[in-house]
């Protein structure tokens, strides 16, 4: 299997590089690849911010950016220029080193995610043996960044928000990691490339490319999706930096480009968590005829990722925020027990002496059972909550009454 780095190295060797410089050629190939990946991600972020603002505006019956460029396309560029020209304020009693380091460390892990994302067969940064855990481990750096930002600003609100963010990230990381264990166990590998390959579906010699794990593990997928929303600090889990209510939580003291770094990290993180969902559950580049026409692979991958990202924005545009106690108990009392029982069921089913397809069927049944249980728990909880919020009056229409208010005692 030729990977992109092999091809690039090969090209350099053909161009007449001496054989003893082969490691250097490989390093140059790696550098080109890494450079393209990172810059691609930055351009993607520009588009992504515009798409997000447009989509959420439409959902909420607004227009969104429409002044700069056609359809407001260059709004983000203008924003970046504005942020560049802003004063770089450093609070007097901030801890200078940690204060500067925190925004850098929040972008760093997000960009590092690119290393194991599978765009097409052979086109993955590197196919690490620990791919899936590598993705999880990068999240730990993000946690440290939030902690450093909160603490070094020397502001009690930043500190409190930083701690709450960390508590949220910690609480939802466990269900996320355990949900990621389900496809890893099915594929028997942590290499993202191999997981993608395991999601092929052969009908005779033809690869239909529809053996996506989501068809087998819908429960694990939904749990992953919910936890990913919380990890990306997206609505309904964004109560710590609710743009419309609070002043941005732990990065309250940041201005200019440092603030932009947190912003960039958050957007790209949401997108990459969607990409991870695609890699683990939605078949990565797999799809009909992806084997025959190589260009379809990256196309499928990007389309799926944008769809998942769109779903995240859809949720963001429609759902109200949770309270912090609801959020915490949802992670520990609903998601973790459910995903643990799911893993337990999968472990036992995979060792039962039955044909594979019956095993798959049983896993599917277990997953659907988990989803049903989760929905049941949630509806029960919502009913229980809605008792306390009875309306004091019944509005005549949704918009409100146009009739003049009765003047009392005049």
């Amino acid at each position: 299997m030729m990977t992109w780095s092999d091809i690039l190295t090969d090209v350099q060797m053909r161009l007449g590089a001496p054989p003893e410089l082969e490691p250097l050629a490989r390093a140059i190939a790696y550098f080109i690849g890494a450079f393209m990946l990172v810059n691609g991600a930055l351009v993607l972020a520009l588009i992504l911010i515009w798409v997000t603002r447009k989509v959420v505006s439409r959902i909420q019956d607004r227009i969104g950016p429409n002044r700069i460029g056609p359809y407001g396309l260059f709004q983000t560029v203008a924003d970046v220029l504005k942020l560049l020209s802003k004063e770089d304020i450093r609070p007097d009693n901030a801890d200078q080193i940690a204060y500067v380091l925190a925004p850098i460390l929040s972008v760093f892990p997000v960009l590092m995610t690119l290393a194991v994302i599978t765009f097409a067969p052979g086109f993955v940064g590197v196919d690490l043996n620990i791919g899936v855990l590598y993705l999880v481990a990068l999240g730990s750096i993000g946690i440290m960044a939030a902690l450093m930002a909160g603490w070094s600003s020397n502001n009690k609100y930043a500190l409190l928000a930083g701690f709450r963010v960390v508590a949220q990230l910690l609480a939802y990381e466990i269900p996320m990691v355990l949900a990621m264990l389900a496809p890893v166990m099915l594929a028997g590998t942590m290499r993202t490339q191999e997981i993608a390959r395991a999601q092929a579906l052969y009908l005779g010699p033809i690869n239909l490319g529809l053996g996506w794990f989501v068809f087998l593990l819908p429960g694990a997928f939904i749990i992953y999706f919910i936890s990913a929303l919380a990890e990306a600090e997206q609505t309904p889990f964004d109560l710590l930096e609710a743009e419309s209510e609070l002043i941005a939580g732990f990065h309250i003291e940041y201005s200019g480009m440092k603030f932009a770094m947190f912003f960039l990290a958050q957007f790209l993180n949401a997108f990459f968590l969607g990409a991870i969902a695609v890699m683990l559950f939605l078949g990565s580049w797999q799809g009909p005829f992806a084997d025959q026409i190589p260009l379809l692979g990256p196309f499928y991958f990007l389309v799926k990722t944008f769809l998942v990202y769109g779903a995240i924005q859809w949720v963001r545009g429609t759902f109200p925020r949770l309270r912090i106690d609801q959020m915490m108990s949802f992670a520990w009392k609903v998601l973790v027990p459910l995903v643990l029982s799911l893993i337990l069921a999968q472990m036992i089913i995979m060792k039962l002496p039955i044909p594979t397809w019956i095993g798959y069927l049983l896993i599917l049944v277990a997953n659907i059972g988990v989803v049903a249980l989760m929905l049941r728990l949630m509806t029960r909880y919502l009913k229980q909550e809605s008792v306390g919020t009875k309306r004091s009056f019944t509005p005549k229409s949704l918009i409100g009454t146009m009739a003049p208010v009765n003047q009392v005692g005049d």
């Binding site: 390093a27 009693n93 600003s153 200019g256 106690d325 337990l344």
Partner: protein, 118 residues
Amino acid sequence: MLSQYGFILILSGIAMIIPVAAITIGHLLGPRRPDPIKNATYESGVETIGDTWVQFRAQYYLIALIFLIFDVEVIFLYPIAIAYQNLSLFSVMAAVTFVLILLLGLFLEWRKGALEWK
């Protein structure tokens, strides 16, 4: 195999340089007119009283604690998942016991009320 990590190394270099460059450019391009009010702690215009000392509740510690224990158990489950195809029934029972003890721990915390966010 180690040459794979060469890519990680190069990528981490670039991923470090990008935010550093952005912040440096922002620092150079932006105006610099510090004054004591601007550089004071931002609390919506209200003057800061006392230092950053806030009373934290042990709840945060408990969340991190539960996370730590679960994290440790997760790192033991992943290699088992990799080796799963070749494990005997006895080994699988050991792994199942491991997960069951994990669940037991969770229910213990639940009963003790460590999961309530008050």
